[in-house]
Amino acid sequence: MDSSNTNGRGIPAAEFYEFKELSLEEAEKQLTRFQEFIAKYRFMETSIVRRVAGLDEKLPEIEKTLQTVTFLEAEQDENLDVLYELDDTLYANAQVTASNTVCLWLGANVMLEYPVAEAKTLLTSKLEAAKETLKTCKEDLEFLRAQITTMEVNTARVYNHTVELKRRQK
């Protein structure tokens, strides 16, 4: 785990707070500073977690569509008996001839017809892109985890030092 100044997406690295002696006042100041950092990191963590959840939902959809297109490509010109999903928990029978074109729903009420091979390429690249984004999000989360840990340890060390100080003053 490296700690360059920021990670690939511009998240600042947490500094490991070094100190020899620390006045109570200075310690309190630092503790507040650490808490602020931790709060900011946690906020970033929450938004990335949300993005990961969205991707986790989209990915299986793309995979299923790709699986179907690949299947149709292999069964070209065949007459197929299929039980398809008409609605949630409602299926209907159909007889289909695997054609050499498919229609892909692109979102925003737009549907385009593609030759099967092109559709497969398009879906494969969409799937790869989604997997890449998911990978970078997970890396960001790991990076954040490390920075939060550093800040928490900073807090513990400074706090222990204040305990030691108060003990000495007695």
Binding site: V82, E142, E164
Partner: protein, 123 residues
């Protein structure tokens, strides 16, 4: 100080441990999911071995995406075989990665416990 001081290098080790630990938990869940899928495919394959290819109505439909297709027995067996291969490969890759991480986790635990003894809890 009765406590051992934490250095910058220790912090890096602690962070690495924290990250690997969290990653391991996620991988365990993925492993469970894959194993269940694999079991399902193996069960399906075994069921199909008992079938007669001419008894068309007995042959189960194959799920593609959200739809079920009626297939001749040989094509069905082919698909099941491919699925099993893919899943086996995925399980292998995941197991390998988990092994690697486990080795590093053990290493880190040894180092950190030897320096900090009771000061930290890594489990």
């Amino acid at each position: 100080m009765s406590q051992v001081a934490v250095t910058k290098e220790d912090q890096a080790l602690l962070n690495e441990f924290s990250v690997l630990h969290a990653r391991h938990a996620v991988m365990e869940m993925d492993q469970k999911k894959l194993k269940t899928q694999l079991e399902d495919v193996v069960d399906a394959t075994n069921e199909c071995e008992l079938l007669d290819e001419d008894d068309v109505d007995e042959i189960p439909m194959y799920k593609v995406g959200d739809a079920f297709f009626k297939l001749p027995l040989d094509k069905l067996n082919e698909h099941l075989e491919q699925d099993q291969e893919q899943l086996n490969k995925a399980v292998e890759q995941l197991d390998e990665k988990m092994e690697e991480d486990m080795v590093r986790i053990k290493e880190l635990k040894t180092r950190l416990y030897s320096k900090f003894h009771d000061q930290i809890n890594l489990d």
